[in-house]
Point group: D5
Chain length 112, copies 10
């Protein structure tokens, strides 16, 4: 699993990049049934930025993975922070209704 | 009434979990007629998380219970705080129109 | 189960009456879990009209009844046709998502 | 109760005029409580058109009148047909929720 | 004019209650024509809460009252503060277009 | 008042052209106050098409003209039919609320 | 691949059943990348109806299948017609944007 | 140009008044073509309030005036501050697209 | 300019394929400025279908082409009919506002 | 590339100007395919303002330029700050979906 990056074209200022993937799907480890959600990545880059196409392929790896909402959100945050070493990053996952209920998980990273 | 929980998969950071149940129904203690509403739970977990399916069954117990808007909101907050001992929790209940008026109740808990 | 009616105030012309109940709930006979839906009644009255309040109480009787989507739609059509003997009637039931899927059932009656 | 009219500026072709009043209110004859609704008038004029301001004052007369949904719709149709003798007219009344249910009544006139 | 109240079911925490009445109507003192608006009450109760049905009857008293937007908003705030002695209260009135313009008035009370 | 036209680029088939002007304004001949509306032109061209820019200037001529809703709709239809001699044309004017009521006028032409 | 069915609870009248699955996903046979879409089934049952849960499992079988939009729509229609032998059936598939373009395919069956 | 005012009915508390005029039109000084926009006035009154009808007539004076977006926003703020001497006031003008671009100007006054 | 096609996977029934491109841009031949629009293709295939990716490249050829709304709509219809010889086809182009006005052009082909 | 400016009509107060261009298009340097987005400029002017028409022509220069989302956002911010020397400026670019994902970039300038 390699997420490609490219050099941040403007390292003089802090600015905010947001990518929204409304076509995320993983598998519920309890029922084996697919979950569907929207993943939003918001970050302030430092020296490098996440490359959009490789990000897409990174998300595809969850298509057959059994993993809970809370875990997948934290895993994506950990792995993307490691991939591009940003100044700040936030991951929000919003899940389609299961049993009539929708869920949203939000996790943040701030470089100390 | 037992609400199941599971171990928080990431206890190193504070992150926010939201569950929205748009299919909540209880009974008005005054008229005996059903009330319909949406219940939103937002919390920052500590050691454990609320399990989604048992949460759904917990809400079903209100289906025949006579209870006012203001009371049901505080009862849910008290019981869910007790169930998972979160760092913070907020309950919002939004009710369908009665007599032409809609109502919303919002209550918060913050561990001191 | 008695649905009250009142005399049609204008029997000289055909006109159309629609009532929409977005707070309908019954029970799935398979899982025992509640179903939530919107019931729409559209009809052309003949000599009598359906009284709105008694219609509301009529719908409440389904709150604890185990019955499939397809059956409940046809049962409501049969019983309301019997209650007010309209020239035409249509029942549409629209159901909240179960297993990620929403359903709609539509049934018509036309006096021959 | 006089509804003013003015001469149809183009009597060579059939064309359609629609007025929508979203601020209609009358009184429920059963409970004495106010009803709120939207009244839509659609018609094809013949020799005369309905004057907009007098139409507004006409609707104000229902503000304290106790009258059912079905009756008010037919009364408005009868009185406006008499006022301007159109080729065709349709009245639609859409009512705010009462007891959780919304209602719509539609009545038509076509000159024979 | 008596607004009924009931005992606050949870006096240990501050929580927020909102009631929205989209069916408010009063009379313009200048033109004698009706005004239509939505009234929103948001408050933090102390020992007592506003009873929903009596609140509805309270609003009905404005139906024939000639009063300006700015005045009605402040009057409602004064009277409801007196009725339930809350910790905080906010009244927002939003008015349908007159002369093509819509208006909104917002007033707050905070117990000192 | 000259409306420019250009040669229909495809005279072998009947096809439909629609232009929507949401920035139309004229003057109410009764009150002298401006009216605001959206004008929609839909037509099937024959040998020539309406040029968009000259159409815009044509609409500007109504900015200070006192004219009723019903009349302006028929006048526009008459003048545009004369300008481009279409196979069919429909004019719809939708007007912002006056006295709380919105209005729509629709007129059609079909070459005989 | 077996789609379960149950006996049509009302075989005396023709009525319409619609199921909408907004969580359909298959694989593009050209690129190997997932496609996401909404599948709508509308049919008039004869002796039997499609069981909702087995329908859901039926759709899951496409999750790893490489198949074009046009083909998958016709395959679903063929297989569901075979499964429940309806009087009429329509399948509509609506696909999320690829290369900036969205697509919709609609196929119908009518028993002759 | 006189903007009428009336005495603030409640001078004991600071409260907020908002008027929105979606039917504002002035003239572009460069092209001579009309501009269309929505003007929003938000203010905290001191001793007097802006009278709604005279406000409407005030806006009509811009109908034939050639003036830029930035200037008209500041002019309205200056003139309305002078007219009612408020504690605070904000003017927002939102303009329909020109050359495919929409514009919004926001200016504030706070009594020092 | 070659538009690729593929064999229709189901030639036994008539079914409808729709592709929507909301990112179409061409150049106004009068002003040299870009036009932006949405192009919708709806057709019933015969032996072959339009390949989605080559369709996208086909649309890109208009990016620097000076051509009027009416002409581009008919040109696309002619060229796509030639490319896939469908039983029926409809092209709708919807254009962003120019001079405050939006336009829509609709053209149809039916094999005789 | 010259962006025209004009003198700020009110230099006594800080106020905010926003221009939104929903018709921005540039070229992806990797694939050579066009990107489509909305560019929002928000700034507090000092002595001069950006002229709207020249701003439009400035954006047209990106139509054939190969440049990444992150770079184009920072380039626009740098060039517009240079053009009008504002007190503060923010550029937000929102991009249509590529590979199913949408992106937003936000960059700020504050004069020190």
């Amino acid at each position: 699993m390699t997420i490609e990056t490219f050099e941040n074209p403007n390292q003089n200022r802090n600015y905010e990049i947001t990518h929204v993937n409304p076509e995320f799907t993983s598998v519920c480890p309890k029922t084996g049934l697919p979950d569907f959600g929207t993943v939003t990545i918001k970050y302030i880059p430092d020296a490098i930025c996440l490359e959009l196409k490789s990000l897409k392929y990174y998300f595809l790896e969850f298509r057959s993975k059994g993993i809970f909402y809370e875990a997948v959100t934290n895993v994506i945050l950990d792995e993307l922070v490691e991939a591009c070493n940003p100044k700040e990053m936030e991951i929000v996952t919003e899940w389609k209704a299961r049993g009539g209920m929708t869920s949203t998980i939000k996790a943040n990273y701030k470089r100390s």
